[in-house]
C-alpha cells in the first residue's frame, strides 16, 4: 500500500519544481524505513552519481534503493545542482545518465531520516571477495538499529575504507567496489586517497592571545603549557555535543581552542573549526566571527558579547521569532556581507495614474503596474536582473521574476511574479491576487517566494515619500517605491506646473552593478512609467 502510494506520487511531484526534491526524498526515506530495504552503491564520480541517484527513483520501481545513500544533510547541496528538472521527465534519460566508471564507492547509507553518521558493526565480506547483486556486504549500526547493507552491483570488494568499529558520516565512502580484477589496484589507490582525505588534520586555529585562559605568546600546541594555571597541564574540556560534532566532522578536538565558560570547547567552536555554518541559535553572533576570521581576538570578544548586553528593562517581555521572522533576520544579517549602494530617481506618474484609473475596473493593481514596468525595464538592462553568487562572476538570470515585498501578520514575505516581463498586465494582476491569498494562508510554495531576481518594495500607500531598501541575498537590486505626490515643477522654459512625482530608490550590489548601470536602468524605468501605454500591450 505504502509503496504504491509513494511510487504513484513521484511522477506527479516530478512535474513540479525541483524545490520539492527534499520532500520527495524525505518520503523516500520514510518508505525505506518502513521496508528495511537498503541497498546502495554508486559510481565513483560524486557529481554524476548524485544526478543518477536523484534520477533513478523516479524511473523505475526497483531503484528506490539508490537514494538510501543520500544523506539528509547533503540535500541542500544537491538540490541546486540539478537545474534540469525537465530533462528527467524525458522518456529516455537512461542514456544521458549512463555511467562509464567501473569503480564504485560504497557509501554510508542513511538508514533513517535522522541518521547523520553510522558505525560499521562488521564487514560481512572481506577485501577481494566477489560480490553479487543483493548480497549483504556490511552491517551498519545507525542511530536506530543494526542493518545489513546489500550491494546493488556485481563486483569485487577492492578495499575497505572505513574499518569495523569506525564511524563515518552518511554519504561518505566506506568501501570501494571494482568491477573486474584489473581495476582492483586502481580502486585500492583510490581507497588510499580516500582514507587520507577523509581524515583531514584540522588546521590548527589561529592562536588566541587575547583569550583570558591562555595569556602569553601564541603556542603551536595549546594543551601542554597553560602557564597561569598552577595545577599543571590543563586537559581539554569539551562538552558532550562538541565531542559528537568533532567526531562527526573529523575535527581534532585537541587542536581547537575553547571559547566557552572556563575555556571549554563548545559545539560552536567545533563548527567554526570545521568551517560549518554555525547552528541557528547563534546566527547573528557567529556571523561576526565568520566575517573577521583574521582577527583572532574577536572570537572571545564575540562570544562574550551576549553577557555584555545590558540586562533587559524590568517588565520587558521576550518574544522569540517566528519561523518567518527568523528567516527575515537571517537574510538581513547575511545581507551585510554585500557591498551595496543606492541611486534615487524622481518619476512623473500622471500618465501612470491615468492609466491606473482606466484599468482599475479590470482588476489591475498598482503593484502589477509597477512590477510590469520594472520587468520591462529589466528586460532592457539584464545586468540589473543579474546577481553575484560567488563574488567572482555575474549570474545572468534568464527569467525576470519580480519579488514583491508584502507585510503579513507580523512577518514579511516576497511572493514572486514569475516572468513578469512576458505576462500581460491582466494575467499579472490575477497572478498577484492569487499569490497574496496564498501568502495570507501560508500556502506559498517555496518557488513562489524564493525565485525572485529583482525585488520591489512599495510603501507609497502609507504616504512614505522615500525610503531605502536592504538588498536581499542572492539578488542584484531592489527598488523602493515612495508615494506619488503632486509636486511643483519648473520646465526648461521656466513654466511652473504641478505634476505627480514619485521617488524611487534602487539598492544594488556594487560588485556587479555600478552607478551608471543603475542610472540607465532608472531612466528606462522612468520612461516606461511616463509613457505607460506599452504596459498594456
Amino acid at each position: 500500500m505504502q509503496t504504491q502510494l509513494g511510487n504513484a506520487a513521484f511522477p506527479r511531484l516530478l512535474r513540479r519544481s525541483l524545490s520539492y526534491i527534499p520532500s520527495i526524498l524525505y518520503s523516500l526515506h520514510s518508505l525505506l524505513n518502513l521496508f528495511h530495504f537498503f541497498r546502495f552503491l554508486s559510481n565513483s564520480s560524486p557529481q554524476s552519481q548524485k544526478h543518477k541517484e536523484m534520477a533513478s527513483p523516479f524511473l523505475s520501481n526497483t531503484t528506490i534503493s539508490f537514494s538510501s545513500s543520500l544523506s539528509s544533510s547533503s540535500l541542500p547541496r544537491i538540490a541546486p545542482s540539478i537545474p534540469f528538472s525537465s530533462i528527467r521527465s524525458n522518456s529516455t534519460p537512461r542514456r544521458i545518465l549512463t555511467v562509464r566508471s567501473k569503480i564504485r564507492e560504497i557509501f554510508m547509507p542513511a538508514l533513517s531520516s535522522t541518521m547523520t553518521e553510522g558505525k560499521i558493526v562488521s564487514w560481512v565480506k572481506s577485501e577481494g571477495d566477489v560480490l553479487s547483486k543483493g548480497e549483504s556486504v556490511v552491517v551498519v549500526e545507525s542511530d536506530k538499529a543494526d542493518m545489513d547493507v546489500e550491494t546493488f552491483y556485481d563486483g569485487i570488494l577492492a578495499a575497505i575504507v572505513v574499518g569495523e568499529g569506525e564511524t563515518a558520516p552518511v554519504g561518505a565512502a566506506i568501501g570501494i567496489l571494482a568491477e573486474t580484477e584489473d581495476e582492483i589496484a586502481e580502486a585500492k589507490a583510490k581507497a588510499a586517497s580516500k582514507s587520507g582525505a577523509s581524515t583531514p588534520s584540522a588546521p590548527p586555529p589561529a592562536p588566541a592571545p587575547g583569550a583570558a585562559s591562555t595569556p602569553g605568546p601564541p603556542k603551536s600546541t595549546p594543551a601542554p603549557a597553560a602557564p597561569t594555571v598552577a595545577e599543571g597541564p590543563r586537559k581539554t574540556v569539551a562538552t558532550p555535543f562538541a565531542k559528537k560534532l568533532a567526531k562527526q566532522h573529523k575535527v581534532d578536538i585537541e587542536s581547537v581552542v575553547g571559547t566557552g565558560p572556563y575555556g571549554r570547547i563548545t559545539p560552536e567552536d567545533i563548527e567554526a573549526a570545521a568551517g560549518l555554518s554555525p547552528s541557528k541559535k547563534n546566527v547573528g553572533l557567529a556571523v561576526v566571527v565568520e566575517t573577521k576570521p583574521a582577527a583572532p581576538a574577536k572570537a572571545p570578544a564575540a562570544s562574550a558579547a551576549p553577557s555584555s548586553l545590558p540586562p533587559p528593562v524590568p517588565g520587558s517581555t521576550v518574544v522569540p521569532f517566528t519561523t518567518m521572522q527568523a528567516a527575515v533576520s537571517k537574510n538581513m544579517v547575511e545581507s551585510l556581507s554585500v557591498p551595496t549602494f543606492r541611486v534615487g530617481y524622481p518619476v512623473t506618474t500622471d500618465a501612470l495614474d491615468a492609466l491606473y484609473e482606466k484599468v482599475k475596473p479590470k482588476g489591475v493593481t498598482m503593484t502589477a503596474l509597477l512590477a510590469k514596468a520594472a520587468a520591462m525595464a529589466l528586460a532592457q538592462h539584464p545586468l540589473v536582473n543579474s546577481s553575484c553568487k560567488d563574488g567572482k562572476s555575474f549570474t545572468y538570470n534568464s527569467n525576470i521574476n519580480i519579488a514583491v515585498a508584502v507585510a503579513i501578520n507580523g512577518g514579511l514575505i516576497t511572493p514572486v511574479l514569475q516572468d513578469a516581463d512576458k505576462l500581460d498586465l491582466y494575467l499579472l494582476s490575477q497572478k498577484w491576487k492569487e499569490l497574496v491569498e496564498k501568502a495570507r494562508a501560508k500556502q506559498l510554495q517555496p518557488q513562489e517566494y524564493n525565485s525572485g531576481t529583482f525585488t520591489l518594495s512599495n510603501l507609497g500607500m502609507f504616504g512614505v515619500d522615500r525610503f531605502d531598501a536592504i538588498l536581499p541575498p542572492g539578488q542584484g537590486a531592489i527598488m523602493a517605491v515612495g508615494a506619488s505626490k503632486p509636486t511643483v515643477v519648473a520646465d526648461a522654459d521656466g513654466f511652473f506646473s504641478v505634476k505627480n512625482k514619485m521617488l524611487v530608490n534602487v539598492t544594488a550590489d556594487h560588485r556587479i552593478i555600478y552607478g551608471a548601470d543603475l542610472a540607465a536602468f532608472l531612466q528606462t524605468f522612468s520612461k516606461i512609467v511616463e509613457n505607460p501605454e506599452s504596459l498594456t500591450l
Binding site: P240, F241, R264, A326
Partner: protein
Amino acid sequence: MHSTLSFSQATTVPTTNYAFHSQSPINLRFCGLRREAFGISILTRSSSGRVRLSTRGRSKRTSASTGNNGTPPKSFDYDLIIIGAGVGGHGAALHAVEKGLKTAIIEGDVVGGTCVNRGCVPSKALLAVSGRMRELQSEHHMKALGLQVSAAGYDRQGVADHANNLASKIRSNLTNSMKALGVDILTGFGTIVGPQKVKYGKVGFTDNVVTAKDIIIATGSVPFVPKGIEVDGKTVITSDHALKLEFVPDWIAIVGSGYIGLEFSDVYTALGSEVTFIEALDQLMPGFDPEISKLAQRVLINPRKIDYHTGVFATKITPARDGKPVIVELTDAKTKEHKDTLEVDAALIATGRAPFTYGLGLENINVVTQRGFVPVDERMRVIDANGNLVPHLYCIGDANGKMMLAHAASAQGISVVEQVTGRDHVLNHLSVPAACFTHPEISMVGLTEPQAREKAEKEGFEISVAKTSFKANTKALAENEGEGLAKLIYRPDNGEILGVHIFGLHAADLIHEASNAVALGTRIQDIRFAVHAHPTLSEVLDELFKSAKVLDMKTLRKMKS
C-alpha cells in the same frame, strides 16, 4: 497465598475466614474477639512466652514485645494509624476507610510525600514540557506532519511554576480526599513508643500519644547521596532541587542512569542543556531488559547531546565556587584508580534513594533496620531483631525497600489493610508495572529476559520471547512515532506471561494490559482473543500476544510421550 493468620478486628465482625488453603497446616484465628479481650490475649501470649505460628515450613514467630512502655493499651484511639502521608499512606488510608476502620495519618512534612511534592508528580510536569519542546524542535518530524512552527522557546519560570502548581494541586486533592472520608490528619513526626502506641508532635511542642490497633510505617525515602559528594542545592543538586528548576545549566553531569537520571536527561536536553551520564555499572540503564536498554540508548542517548562514562564512581563532587566550575572526580569502579576529572556547570545526584526511617523509634520495639530499611516479610509485617514478627506493625513503600515505586507502596498498603480486616492478601510484586517517562516512554512488568532465563533454568522450563514493533502500528505511524518495541517473555508450554517490556509512544499507559494479565494470571491463549479498538497503540500488545506461540495440548502430549 498460603498463610492463614488473620488478626481480624472485633468491630468489623469478620466471621469468615478467608484462609482455606489446603496446604496450610495450622489455621490460627483471632476472630471475633472483643477489643478488651484482645488486649488480654496479647497479655496472655506475652506471659506465656511466645506463640508459635507456623506458615508452611517457615518459622516466623510472632512475639509481643513488652518493651519500655509496657503493656499495650486496652482500648485504642484508632483502628489504624499510618505514619507518613505519601502515596503509600494515602492509598492505605483510603482503603482502610472503605473497610470501615477509624483511621489517622501522621505527617511531619507535607501531605503527598516524595511522589507528589518532590518526585513523580512535578517531574511529569517537566517531562510534559520537555516532550513538547522536543517535538517542536524536531524539524523533520514537524515537516513530515506538514506543520510549520516558529522557533520554539520556553520560559524557565513558567515551566517551574507548572511543575509547582501541579504538585500543589495534587497535594490538595490528596488532602481533601482524606479529609472528606474522615481520615484524621495528625501533624508532626511520628515515633513509635511501644506496641500499638505512637507519639507525634512538632519540635518544641508537647507530644501527643495515640494508640491504634494496627500501625503502618510509610515514611518513604530521601535522595541518596554517596559520600564525597557535596550537595549545595544550587550547582550540585538532587532531584528535590532539580524539580524546582531554578536554573537550566549549559552542561550538567547526571550521576546514575536509572529512572530518575534518565527522566532528567530528557528534561534537560529538551531545554537545551548538554548532559554527561556517570554510571557505576558497565552499562547505561542497568535496571532494564538489555534489549530495551540497547534500543533506548539508541533513541534516548546517542542522538542527543549526551555523553557518558560507565564503570566509574563519582567519588568527589565539589560545587561551583570561587570562579571554578563544578568538579567531578571519577574513579574506576574496578581498579579504584582515579580515572578522569570533569568540569561541568552542574551535577545532579540520581544514585537512588535511601529510606527515611531515622527517628521512628524502632528501637522501642526491638527492630533494627538494614541499611536503613525496615525488614518485613512478604505481607509487609515488620520483623524484629530476633527474626520475630512484630504484631500489629507493618511497613510499606520505600521504607521497606521491596519495590521503591509510589504505586507499589499504595498496593502494599491496600494489601495490609486487607490483612488487618480479615482477608489474607499477599501482593505479587511481579505484577507491579514500572515506567520511565522519557520520550518515548519505557515500561515493564515482571522479569527481564536474563532473569526469566535464570528462573527457567533453575525450575526447568522453557521460555520464549515474542516481539512487535511500533513501526507496524497504524496509530504510531499516524503520530509519526514509529520508533519502539514491545517484548513478551513467556512460557510456551502453558502460556504464562513472565515479563513484558515496552519502549515506545505511551508505553507507560500500554503496560497495564500486561500487568493486569500477570496479576490475574491470565494466560496468553486467553488474552489473545481480547479485542482492541482499531487503530490504537494498544494493538502493539494485541500483536504481541498474537505472535506468541503457545504449544497446544496435542503438541505437548507428543513431546511428553
